[in-house]
Amino acid sequence: MEDKDNMMSKKIIKIEDLKREFTMGAETVRALRGISFTINEGEFVTIMGSSGSGKSTLLNILGCLDQPTSGLYEIDGLKVKDLSRNELATIRNEKIGFIFQSYNLLARTSAIENVELPLIYNSKVSTEERRDRAIKALKMVGLENRMDHTPSQLSGGQQQRVAIARSLVNNPVMILADEATGNLDTRTAYEIMSIFQDLNKQGITIAFVTHEPDIATFSSRTIVLKDGKVIKDDLNQDVQSAAEQLAKLPKQDD
């Protein structure tokens, strides 16, 4: 692990004393109270914390969906501060891959079209290239045979795999997953985690928000938030293989 960290020292995420406050009427809610960390290229970080710990707020800021009240946030060397709505949209489009708990696929739209979605908003990508890249992304998650299926024709795990393919299609510097296994049973969740581990092995940086400790064991590093502060930031010395854990699970009785 040490070697890997030294080798890949490019900073994807750099956060310094990040604060986010919300004004609710007369009251000011301090969701993030000054947190700092960096994520290097190739890391697989899980961000944990109970409800109200500020992890959703952090995720929104990391995903350039929200702006911090104060502090520094850099993604891939770009300072995300005082950027316009449109500039934020461009960063989301080119640098970040989103995965949501509820998949958020477009209904009645084929898997391949769902995967193509981010590229539609990138004028540098031609129609042919868009299709090629979508096919490639679907192959990476093992759904090359389900390209024309609509979400209603896919299982939860398959839908989440389409969502993963969608997050990969724009070659992001980082994938942001928000409770990506939250709606799945253990077996399917492990399948999904094994895909994440494979992608991470190929060098893709992943930030994974979860509240399930077993999921965190598949990542290389865990950041724990509490009351808007980082209370723990440890490298995981004993990374579990999701594929192996999957094999150990009792067989489903059909």
């Binding site: 969906l65 949209a89 989301r92 489009n93 989103f98 949501f100 958020n104 981010p118 539609i120 724009n170």
Partner: protein
């Protein structure tokens, strides 16, 4: 932002909600179709009025007695006896813008030939009448000036009279008929003219020298009207002014007093009827436009629903990089697609309705390119106008809130 992609997205949204889209379009379709049909009917009736009146002789000028109050009594114009042959002669001699003129007396009565009889109207005129009314003869000849002077009992009859008093198909020329028991020798048959704009059968006439009709049938010495034709259609207004002048001097009407006659040209009649039908067209189009407006509101309504139910989709699109402008365009294009498709279908429906009206209801119609262009343009504008607000609302959504929307 690639317009073609946004176009595809919008198109897909429409295809996925076919029924809803169709129902939304219905308002626009009916609106456009009714605007086109109404304009076609208006334009058609205007043209047919113009044609019909022109066929009656577009440069005809008529001088009729008008009512004036004499010792507190206001008699009806038809009872006026103020128009005389002297007036006719004065007009004929002095007017420079007139090519022909005839005195005209008319009266109703029964045309009898043996056991056949038919109620008709007899017109007493001079030989110029045919030239003024632009009527030819089917057979026979017109009476002469001499026959007018001698008050000869000769007559020309229209086809309707021929059909009714000579039912056996015998040649009426040279036959004797009686009009109110006065015998007339038929010397000609008028060409068929059919009904005029006002539904009057122009073939149901008997024409005879005005002297004969005055003396033998009506027993009067005044005339009912003077009918003349202007040198040309363009000179008709000049002729009207000139004739009015002559008549005023003739009737010794000082300035400031009301004329006891009226001079009217066909051109005036045409514009009177045209403006009436234009008013009517305007009214019809106004009603049709309201349905177009309601169609537009329908689009706005459905776009609101569409934005609302796709809030989460909008959030997702924004999360993966759609800019506000992309979302705005997506929904705007959707609204415009609905309205334009509705417009095209509306034009087709309007044209079919017009054909139907023309062929099955026998109303004259005339579709102008203008009416198609204008209703189509209104459609596109409707789409933009009513699609803008919901689209704007969608584009202003906060991606985080939109993503969480259930």
């Amino acid at each position: 932002m690639r317009l073609l992609n946004l176009f595809k997205i919008a198109f897909k949204a429409i295809v996925l909600n076919k029924m809803r889209t169709l129902l939304t379009m219905l308002g626009i379709i009916i609106g456009v179709a009714s605007v086109i049909a109404m304009l076609a009917i208006g334009e058609g009736s205007k043209e047919s009025i113009r044609e019909n009146i022109s066929a009656m002789g577009s440069n005809i000028i008529t001088i009729r007695p008008a009512t004036t109050t004499s010792s507190g009594v206001r008699p009806s114009a038809a009872e006026m006896q103020t128009l005389t042959l002297k007036d006719y002669e004065a007009v004929k001699d002095q007017a420079t813008f007139l090519s022909y003129a005839t005195p005209l007396v008319n009266g109703g009565g029964q045309v009898i030939n043996g056991s056949n009889n038919w109620p008709s109207t007899i017109y007493g005129v001079n030989p110029d009448y045919l030239k003024i009314k632009v009527v030819d003869l089917q057979s026979g000849s017109m009476f002469t000036d001499t026959e007018v002077k001698t008050a000869a009992k000769v007559a020309l009859i229209g086809q309707t009279v021929v059909d009714n008093v000579f039912p056996d198909g015998q040649d009426p020329i040279g036959q004797m008929i009686r009009f109110n028991n006065i015998p007339f020798k038929v010397i000609g048959v008028l060409e068929v003219k059919g009904e005029n704009t006002f539904g009057q059968d122009q073939d149901d006439v008997v024409i005879a020298p005005y002297t004969t009709v005055q003396k033998r049938i009506l027993a009067i010495d005044y005339i009912n009207q003077i009918m003349a034709s202007a040198v040309s259609e363009d000179d008709a207004p000049n002729a009207v002014t000139e004739v009015s002048e002559i008549m005023r001097i003739q009737h010794k009407i000082s300035n400031g007093n009301n004329d006891d006659f009226s001079v009217q040209s066909m051109e005036e009649l045409i514009s009177t009827f045209s403006s009436t039908s234009e008013m009517l067209t305007l009214l019809l189009v106004a009603v049709a436009s309201i349905s177009l407006l309601i169609g537009g509101i329908g689009i706005m309504n459905i776009m609101y629903v569409s934005v609302k139910e796709r809030t989460k989709e909008i959030g997702l699109r924004m999360a993966v990089g759609a800019k506000g402008a992309d979302i705005l365009m997506q929904f705007l294009i959707e609204a415009i697609l609905i309205s334009i498709t509705g417009g095209v279908l509306g034009v087709l429906l309007g044209l079919s309705a017009t054909v139907f009206i023309e062929n099955f209801l026998n109303w004259p119609t005339s579709v102008t390119l203008f009416s198609i262009v204008i209703s189509f343009a209104v459609c596109a504008v409707t789409g933009i106008f009513f699609g803008w607000y919901p689209a704007r609302k969608a584009s202003a959504l906060d991606p985080i809130t939109a993503l969480r929307y259930e």
